[in-house]
Amino acid sequence: MCGIVALFLKNQALEPELGALFEPMLVSMTTRGPDSAGFAIYGDEVAAARIKVTLRHPDARYDWKALANALRGVDAQLEWFQNAIVAVFKLSTDEEKVRAWLTSNAPDVRVLSVGRSIEILKDVGLPADISRRFGLARMQGSHIIGHTRMATESAVTLQGSHPFSTGLDLCLVHNGSLSNHNRLRALLQRQGLDFETDNDSEVAAGYLTWRLMNGDSLQKALEAALTDLDGFFTFAIGTRDGFAVLRDPIACKPAVLAETADYVAMGSEYRALVSLPGIESAKVWEPEPAQVYVWERQH
């Protein structure tokens, strides 16, 4: 049970302020989710032949520099930087190669996200502390999905925190409680997917990855989710170009949307949106149950 927030900028002039606009949204949802928080920010996109990878290690004093030096064997031109407990690498290679290299050479390093634009940052603790830790207020980008977690049936750990990465530039956050995720996890594992936790939200993310891997569009994959996932959910999904929102047919978990000329914003409660500029005159509405909503920028 949790809080979800998302912000998609229609007006590119606001991109330098994305983090500053988003931080109060995330922090306002602390009561819904005091256990852990995270966000997936999209921006600083790398060129088509490159990928950006967000990594984390259980040891807060892990020597990322040493890892970077070793990784130069894969890409001598790699760039990297550290942000609190996370390290972001930009490499000219593909996801499979990076994962394979890490499995062999640094098996304790965890991959939080892979893509051209996405960076997933998450941790255990209060949303305000996590924002501060990662310097959210200074971040720039085109869109951002965030989550504050009140753990229900699984443990409060970083792995159990949202957003969950489901594929290149893809992520999912979830408010609700699924009821058939255990069998679904087993089915997906037999299809070759790996899971780190016993968390129901991770299963939802894995389900989407699987559908997309099998050629579904995001729209189709989310529509299939309505049949294959049982339980209560409001999902926000991040894509390279935008975000999507989906509520289950019973729709007990909340969701509020707000749109102006400058942005589309989403939150579990209207309270999450009050700090946004122009919110007083925004179009405010609730997404219908069992309906896929997608906002993407056109290229």
């Binding site: 729709a251 409660e269 209207y270 009050v274 149950p289």
Partner: protein
Amino acid sequence: MKTFDLSSQSVRELNQALHDQARALTEADWIVRNPGGAHSVACGLDQDLRVTIEGHCGYYCAGMNQRAHVVVNGNAGVGLAENMMSGFVRVRGDASQSAGATAHGGLLVIEGNASARCGISMKGVDIVVKGDVGHMSAFMGQAGRLVVCGDAGDALGDSLYEARLYVKGTVRSLGADCIEKAMREEHVAELRELLERAGIDADASAFRRYGSARRLYNFKVDNASAY
């Protein structure tokens, strides 16, 4: 006239001040500014007060209202006027889920749209919605009247008891044991009076009436699939 600014004062202070009026009415008119989506604004009132909220409210605005007249110049979150006993609540914008949930009396007017479960488990309240209502509205409605000038979503009146439903627009689907019923003179008159009290201009004879078929009142095995 007393003004409260929720950007600098707390909901607790506001509600305490309003509750204190139940013991001694010293101030009948109140304005609440900058609600900013706060929850439980003006809940538990029990006095002849007029409270105007300038902006959007969060959950349970005017919850368990008695006697007071509350107006929200904005939208309202989940459970607007839930369990209201008497009095009047009006929202100029939209109301989120479960508006008027389990309310026993009074009048709730929603000038925009209401979301899912409008009037769920209603126990005597009158609800008049100028716009649409979402799915499962009037679910297990026991008593009272729900008037919808727009459209109703799926499963209207599912598992209905004795609440009376009037809808002018389309009904996406009816819930278990909810059927359309004849609009007789007395229903048109009842509806006209409700619309008048709500201050909404609509032609009562253009509405259809829905109510319980009463087949689920006592268990019969042949109705098992309805459960």
